[in-house]
Amino acid sequence: MNRKLLAGLMLGVGLSVTPALAADLRIALNSDADMLDPDQSRTFVGRIVYASLCDKLIDITPELKMIPQLATSWSWSDDGKTLTMELREGVTFHDGEPFNAEAVAYNIERSMTLPESKRKSEFTSVESTEVTGEYEIKFHLKNADATLMAQLADRGGMMISPKAAKAAGADFPTNPVCSGPFKFKERVAQDRIVLTKFDKYWNADKIHFDSVTFLPIPDTTVRLANLRSGDIDMLERLAATDLTSAKADSKLKVESATSLGYQGITVNVGRGEAAKKPLGQSKLVRQALSYAIDREALNQVVFEGAFQPGNQQVSPASPWYNKDVPIPARDVEKAKALLKEAGFDRVEIEYSVPNNPVQLQIAQVVQAMAAEANIDIKIVSKEFAKLLDDDSSGNFEASQLGWSGRIDPDGNIHAFAVCGAGMNDSAYCNPEVDKLLNDARVAPDDAARKALYDKASKILDEELPIIYFYHLKWIWALSSKIEGFVPYPDGMIRLENMKLAD
């Protein structure tokens, strides 16, 4: 009460900094999460909430190595078609139900069969699961699948309480019950999601906050102002243009990690009238466009050089990057020559862009650069819902759309480049690429997979159904009082070992 009074007095004289409660961590998110059900949700910010709410079978290191979380160890059969997992003992869900192999079997079943599930495509290789002990489970696969582990290290591997899930059905999201370090307390849509510490968490020693509150604050300037005033303790996705001033502020610290995703232009090469334009018809025109863009200048102008220019589905920092296909330097003359070779003096491109200021800024930079190479870009800004609709139905010539990225390289390319795949908006179809990408899923080891992806990226770099521009960096800004935060390339915030300095 005294403090309120004091704060009131401070307001009176024009000073009002109310520090957050010591043991509560307040994190500002870029947008509001959707349904809080690992099987039903689809937003990136939702995954940030899950990092505190729902444990997964497997976790990753910042270097993307698989490490135990709810599964303690695992092994593959020689033919790569059976995965055996040993599970952690003594883990309970937030409702007190025990975690065991039966629970895992239920969760995988739910991901694969719940009508609302958005995880179905992630488990297409799974034939069945078999409970072989209280804490041992086997996955039987239809075919070898190198990407399964990555799914189990993401939403597909998040475990929810079978009892609560059965009772709630599709209503589960309003009161999610998992086994993570924090349990669900309340949610006010567009305002806050509050989680409180789960005392029976198996790894409770490493958790140093009593509660964590996620606040969706879409405006980057407002997010930063809130952090500066102490209303929040941490924010995700600081605008790259705020980096300089945030770094200069002694009360703040800034962390970053190159994301797993990519940003670029998806070109419609195979569907409908829009694909019949020069850009969709001729790979030479697409190459010309790629040469017309100065990726480093784009990065400088829009992001003050903070992001990572790129030309493949993974960033140059990734072990999966093909070094034989380097980022092309800008070459306007070559671009013009390519256009000539394709039979054009000038080409015109209708370019779909989401109607938010940063995306439009990028589009205008691309437009200005392309114009110098005789490529006239007509920007058509679309509301995001409309853009998605148009892209998936082939109603676009070129579209500026990115991808948040997945741990396994397959997640960045297979669905986008294989003929008829779910997110292949460009309608690209090349049996050779299909074979390489399908083979990479079942290849025995990383070296063999890498060789296949390298071959694919060589072809894709020439045909360019997607022209990659850059890889964004996740930038977190946090109060300098917070210790122990580790940036991960998946953009998640893991609260293990994070604490307030005294």
Partner: protein, 315 residues
């Protein structure tokens, strides 16, 4: 009186039905497939079909409307496609936020607009009047969202005096509540204060010319008492009825203010819902706003009826 209210209600109900049909149709023709937006990465045909079936997106539009209207009459406004929460619950949690914002804006507008209007009328033709008019017109002319971002820049970012966003209920933590709401309420109240000032001024001017004021003056009542006791009291009547109408408009005007200050109220709910094609939410919120707007208009009319002796005698 009762028959008057009954007649008014008879007009309001078809209007509400029209509003709901109107918004329903408008939404259904909006480009952008909600099933697709909901499916996220799971874009296979079976999933999309399941979602369309589940939310009856395949039914003919008139059938969808009838289903919606039927449930709405029973108090069920459907569930949010995005968060799976019932729309009535969402509205229930958002309405108090916007009402608090609107009430605070109203208070600010009254505290500024009414005294300024009285002063301006009493000092008609002087510099005071002239200035007050210019300030009021400026209040009407300033784009609220610009005022909002400029205040955030100055007060929150540069000076660090007030939080740039957020909301706390006045019943939970009054101090924090005032801190977070004072800027948005000021922004929302600006044009309202201007409108109130202009109407107070003209009402006062009208009253000051009236016979009873002249009589009071001739009786030697002090100028102060004339203004407060005789003139202002009578001028207040149209201002109060006007404010009921303005309050209805405020609820709608909160849309952009909430967007700028990240206040989780009605306006933010609906803007986000339009952009994410969360049909049930848009439909429910518009219906509620329309009810609020029409209801406030009705109250204003009834109040005018009751307070105005001339009208009363006509009953």
């Amino acid at each position: 009186m009762l028959s008057y209210i009954a007649r008014r209600l008879a007009v309001i109900i078809p209007t509400l039905i029209l509003v709901s049909i109107f918004i329903f149709t408008l939404q259904k023709i909006l480009p952008g497939d909600p099933a697709l937006a909901l499916a996220g990465e799971e874009r296979d045909a079976a999933t999309l079909e399941f979602i369309r079936e589940k939310y009856h997106l395949n039914d003919p539009i008139y059938l969808q409307y009838i289903n919606w209207a039927g449930s709405a009459l029973k108090g069920d406004l459907g569930i949010s496609l995005r968060t799976n929460e019932p729309v009535t619950k969402l509205i229930g949690s958002k309405l108090p936020v916007t009402i608090q914002l609107a009430v605070m804006a109203m208070i600010i507008a009254f505290l500024v607009g009414v005294p300024a209007g009285v002063l301006s009328a009493v000092k008609k033709g002087t510099v005071v009047d002239y200035l007050a008019n210019i300030v009021a017109l400026s209040g009407l002319s300033i784009p609220n969202f610009w005022l909002g971002i400029m205040l955030i820049l100055l007060v929150s970012v540069n000076l660090g005096w007030l939080p740039a966003s957020g909301f706390e209920s006045i019943f939970v933590d009054p101090v924090r509540s005032l801190q977070t709401m004072i800027m948005p309420a000021f922004v929302l109240g600006t044009s309202l204060a201007a409108t109130l000032m202009r109407h107070t001024r003209s009402a006062m001017l009208g009253v000051l010319k009236a016979d009873y004021v002249r009589t009071a003056r001739s009786k030697g009542v002090s100028e102060h008492a004339v203004i407060i006791k005789h003139a202002f009291r009578n001028a207040l009547l149209p201002i109060v009825t006007l404010s009921a109408v303005l309050f209805g408009q405020l609820l709608a005007g909160a849309v952009l203010t909430e967007q700028i200050f990240t206040i989780p109220g009605f306006g933010k709910l609906i803007v986000d819902a339009v952009f994410t094609r969360d049909y049930a939410v848009v439909q429910g919120v518009v219906l509620c706003t329309a009810i609020g707007f029409l209801g406030m208009n009705l109250i204003a009319d009834i109040a005018y009826f009751l307070l105005n002796p001339r009208m009363r005698s006509m009953l």
